[in-house]
Symmetry: C2
Subunit: 224 residues, 2 copies
C-alpha cells in the first residue's frame, strides 16, 4: 500500500520503517523537506537523511505525501496536528487517516497534561475529523511507546491496542496493519468519541513510565 | 477502626457495609441527617434507613462523622467534594483521608468528562489536600465500580487497584484495607500528583462500560 506519514519524528520514523519493512511504499511528509531539515538532529530519532538511507523510503512536503497515499498517518505532535491536517487538506478525502497524535501540553514541564482545547467533551481526533470530513479518521496506536506500536512483543503477556473511529471498514484496515505488527489484543472503543478515552490515557501512561522507569508499559482490559 | 464516610450514596454505602462486615465501626456523614433524608430513595443504592438497619452502623452530620473517626473516606460526588471536605475541616487533621471521588461533569449527559477546574496540571485529590493540609490524603478506589472496590473477585484474572498519596504510612493503611477486600494487585503511583492519572482514567472506564455493556471492567498494568 502507498502510505503517507505526516511527521518526521520518532513516531513517524518508527511506524514508517516498520511499514516499509512489510513491503509498503512509505512517504514521510514534513512542512519543509529541505536538505537542512533532513540533516537536522531529532529527539530520540535518526536524522531523516539517515532514516531515508536505512529504509529506502521518501520524504516530501505534506500535501504531496497525503495526495499520493492510499492511507495516511498523522504522527505530528498534538499541538501541530490541526495545522498539518489543514495542509494535507483534500488530499485526505476518502482515505483512512490513522491519528496517532496526543494533544499534550508540556508548557509546565513534566508531566504533561491534556491541552485544554482538546479535553472535555471533545478530542483531537474529533477535531481533526471536523477539519477533514471526507477522511476516515481512526484513532489508534497513541497509547503506547513508538517501539511498542510496531512490536507489541516487547511487553510480554496480554496487553491491548485501543482504536476508535466512525468507519468500520477503516477500522478493519487499521486492525490489519496492527496485526501485521504482531498485535493480537485490539479493543474497538466504538465511534470516534472513543478517542476522548484513549487521549485521556496519556496521564496514566506517563505516570506509569515515571514510577516504573520504563516506557515499555501498557494496559490490559479485564472484564467480569 | 472508627471509620467516617462522607457521602451516603452508592459508593459510601457499599464501602461502609463492607467495612462494617469486617468489624469496623462505620459512621456515614451527610449534610443533613434528618429522618426525611434517611428515607429518601437513592440512585443504585438503598435508602440510608435500610442501610442502617442492614449494617448496624450510624449516620451523622459531616463534622461529627469526621471528628469521631480514625480514618475518613470521601465518597461524595466530585462536584460536591470540596464543600464536604470544608465542612469536615479540622476533624480531618492528622487522619488518613481516602479520596474516592471523581470530578466528572455530567452537564452534557453521557459520557461525562473531567470538570475543567480539576483537569490540567491538578486533580481533585490535590485540591482537597490543599483545603485540609493536615489530612493524609490517599487517592484510591476511584477507578472501579463500587461493587468491585470491595469485591475485586467479581472480575477474574489480574486487575489493578491504583493509589497515590504523599504519605507512605497512610498508603500502607489504605493497602491494608484494600487487601481486606481481596485486592492483591495494588499499583502505587507515587505522590498525590498521581491522582491526575487515575482521575483521568474515568473516560476510558466509562467507555469500556458503554461498549462492553457492564461496569465490571478494570485494567491491568503490563510491563516489558
Amino acid at each position: 500500500m502507498n502510505i503517507g506519514i505526516i511527521g518526521g519524528g520518532s513516531v513517524g520514523q518508527t511506524l514508517g520503517a516498520a511499514l516499509a519493512a512489510r513491503g509498503h511504499a512509505v512517504v514521510i511528509g514534513i512542512r519543509n523537506p529541505s536538505g537542512e531539515e533532513l540533516a537536522k538532529p531529532r529527539a530520540q530519532a535518526d536524522t531523516l537523511e539517515a532514516w531515508l538511507a536505512r529504509t529506502g523510503s521518501r520524504v516530501s512536503d505534506i500535501p504531496t505525501a497525503a495526495a499520493g497515499a492510499e492511507l495516511v498517518i498523522n504522527a505530528t505532535k498534538g499541538d501541530g496536528s490541526i495545522a498539518a491536517i489543514r495542509a494535507a487538506g483534500h488530499g485526505l478525502d476518502g482515505k483512512v487517516l490513522i491519528d496517532v497524535a496526543n494533544p499534550l501540553d508540556f508548557s509546565r514541564g513534566m508531566p504533561p497534561f491534556l491541552m485544554a482545547e482538546y479535553a472535555g467533551p471533545t478530542s483531537l481526533a474529533e477535531q481533526i475529523q471536523a477539519v477533514v470530513p471526507g477522511a476516515r479518521v481512526v484513532k489508534a496506536f497513541n497509547t503506547v511507546a513508538a517501539a511498542v506500536m510496531v512490536n507489541p512483543g516487547l511487553i510480554p503477556g496480554p496487553h491491548d491496542l485501543f482504536m476508535a473511529g466512525n468507519d468500520t471498514i477503516a477500522k478493519e484496515t487499521v486492525s490489519g496493519i496492527a496485526r501485521s505488527f504482531g498485535w493480537t489484543e485490539i479493543v474497538d472503543l466504538g465511534d470516534l468519541a472513543g478517542a476522548r478515552a484513549t487521549e485521556s490515557l496519556l496521564p496514566i501512561w506517563v505516570r506509569l513510565w515515571m514510577t516504573g522507569g520504563s516506557p515499555l508499559v501498557n494496559l490490559h482490559v479485564t472484564r467480569g
